[in-house]
Amino acid sequence: MKLSPDEKLDLREVLADLDRYRPRRKGWTWRKTIANHRVGAFVLADTSENLVRSVPLPAAQSFGGVDPQCDVVLTTEIASGRFEDDLRRMRMAAWHGADHIMVIRTTGQSHIDGLIEGTPEGVGGIPITRKQLRATRKALDAIEDEVGRPINFHSYVSGVAGPEIAVLFAEEGVNGAHQDPQYNALYRGINMHRSFVDAAEAKRIMADAGILQLDGAHNANATAKEAWKVTPELFVQHAINTAYSRAVGMPAELIALSTVPPTAPPAPKLRLDLPYAVALREVFHGYRFRAQQNTRYIEADMMEATVTHVLDTLISRLAGADIQSTITPDEGRNCPWHYNNVAGVNAARQTLMSADGLMELIALRTAGPLRERVRELQERAVLFLEEIVASGGYYAAVAAGHFVDSGLFPERNGDGIVRDPSAGDGAGTVIPRAADYGAPVCSHFGDNVYARPDAKACEAYGGCTLCDPSKIQYIDEVDPSDNVDQRLALPLAERAAGVLRPEVEKHGDGIVCVTVFVPASPRVAEAAALEMARRMGLRNPEVISRRLMHPAEGSVFEIKGVLDVTIRIDDLPLPVREDPLPEAEIEAWVRAREIHIVAATVGEDEHSVGLHEILDIKHGGIEKYGFHCHDLGTSVPIERLLDEAERLGARAVLISTIVTHAQVHEASMRRLDALARQRGMRPRLVLVAGGTQVNAELAAACGMDTGFGRGTTGRGVASFLVRALRAIEDT
């Protein structure tokens, strides 16, 4: 399957022949880092190979369009409930630099004792099934070819079906997975004996398949009331999962700690979070670090969330990380919208690129408060472990509520999570292996009569599915109504008919978001804002963010609602875009004539940056083609412009109206046209307006030949002038 950048992902092609689809590789892939990497005008320290196709950061347009890629893997978490919609989101995220796509599972899959098949719709995530994994892996294979970098696909090996899910992931080319039996025991109410026994098998399978393991310790940050006080325990949770994984045979390079800076401003974030990050990396030297961003304290304000996430990412640069995970800035208010996945990835890469080479300039101090705090946290963690041992081991400690207590250990507030080792989902299902116990398969952990050092355990019957994938049994669908074909019927019909609707999450959901400031007290302002949204035609308007500007002067609201309109592409009045002329052609035509142009910034305006860039040879302006440009400066009256044009015999007048108020820019354009007509100059004179508030349609409506807005280049203006002047010469 091959993607074309100009064409949408063909979901029918993704779903075709999945029964025969095999992943082309297994295991995790890190970025290929490059030291002293020249990218455009810069030599960068902490980068990796460039992408073949991408969308650069917005400011890149001022830096030659470069899109350097940071050295660490970037994660985005995707889950709309419909994998077929998620695939498009994955493609967008990959173009913005994400190479670790984490798929969240549907609510409740942890408690399903066995595998799910088919493609049922999920809630807050998707049901992980073989078909869904295959379709996603197939799409990601095509997307990674399109962007030119391997993409790691990731989901969860937790719940009461961990070993089966691990087999599924190994067979289907999933590259990374969360696996941490403590998560099951503490947060999912699953029996802890079952969790740990299952985990050993799952980890063995993951290790042999090269699947990178992330642990679940970060969940304590998200659960504890004061997340920074749970830090000594986080060392312990990381240690239990890490030591358990090593004992099962998982190599250190496949073990990643999932860690989150625990605070957010107005807490003194760096002072609290940096020592913790350093302390953890010292104790767990040799393991990988997946730096997650903070979700515990983000509210509905996306700007606030973004600033916190930028600071989290800065800590990754200061303390080191192998994977930078991203949280969408809207996670505090709704299920992530697809463009916010992109926003989250961009906040991380913008931060990481801005901090390129930072540790060549600075160093963390080796004495003083940082070291004292690091040592204190490590000692508190050791004391925590000592208490587990003293209380009779892990199960006894969980039963006694040692975990997720809100006190900073050894402080105890008596509010930890308490679980009974003999209770929970799957209790009583742990069975002693008999002396003749056997499992004739590869990647099996523990006592096994088929385990031999000299031969594979699956030799007796010609190989297990891990050795011979042709033995994998593929189930397509089990539910005739709840499946991807049913869900795609309408979207694909609409796509074929050229019908468009707005969306944020799922095809055609119609959701839009508007920002409304209302100058009144909060209660009145909110009611008014909702009414305004209704009058805009939004169905079910709902305030998703409210920010007080002043108790009496007003509040600003973001309101989501459904815009129930369909647009037919064929009915759209698409503006005709003319391609710019070749540079050589412009120059040849212009230099053969002595063409004078008069230009100025008009109105009560002292800004002239935009006009310089269009005229000045240094900025790639039109002078370089041989136009004789006469810039009269700023705040120039229209009359004077035309006086100069007459005196010089100019063939074009360019006016710039950059910052405007009260429609001054429109008045200036109309006046230029009217005065040129009065003086009889208009038929032979080309009039062009430019400015941030200007576009071609508006300028034409105000009597100009054309107008140029943001993103205009000298070549674009020169092309227009040549075409317009040719037309005049031809008449």
């Binding site: 239990i240 000692e379 050791v382 039963a399």
Partner: protein, 117 residues
Amino acid sequence: MPCIERPDDFESRRAHLRALSDEELHARFWQLAQEIVGPLIEEARTHTTPSIERSVLLRMGFSSTEAKALVGRMHEQRLLGHGAGRLVLELAQRQGISVRDAGVALLQGRFWEELGR
């Protein structure tokens, strides 16, 4: 068991750690962690679960629904301690049929009286 409450007694509790170098402290950390996971690993080495057994049958070429049905019935008959994979493989060897055919026969209700003997 009631959860304990106590004030932060870090300064007194840490007395025995104070003299350790950073390296010694880290070594103590890992030694304690290994001590804690030791019994957990031992339990995993000597026990199995329905999910482990289903994962074995998946690897032997059975679908998730087939594995669930087979392991469910073996669990009811208290046979899982021998290993679902072993039961199916030995049946196949005794009958001179493929592993897959042995599993399908069991799904059809045949040969159950022979298992685990």
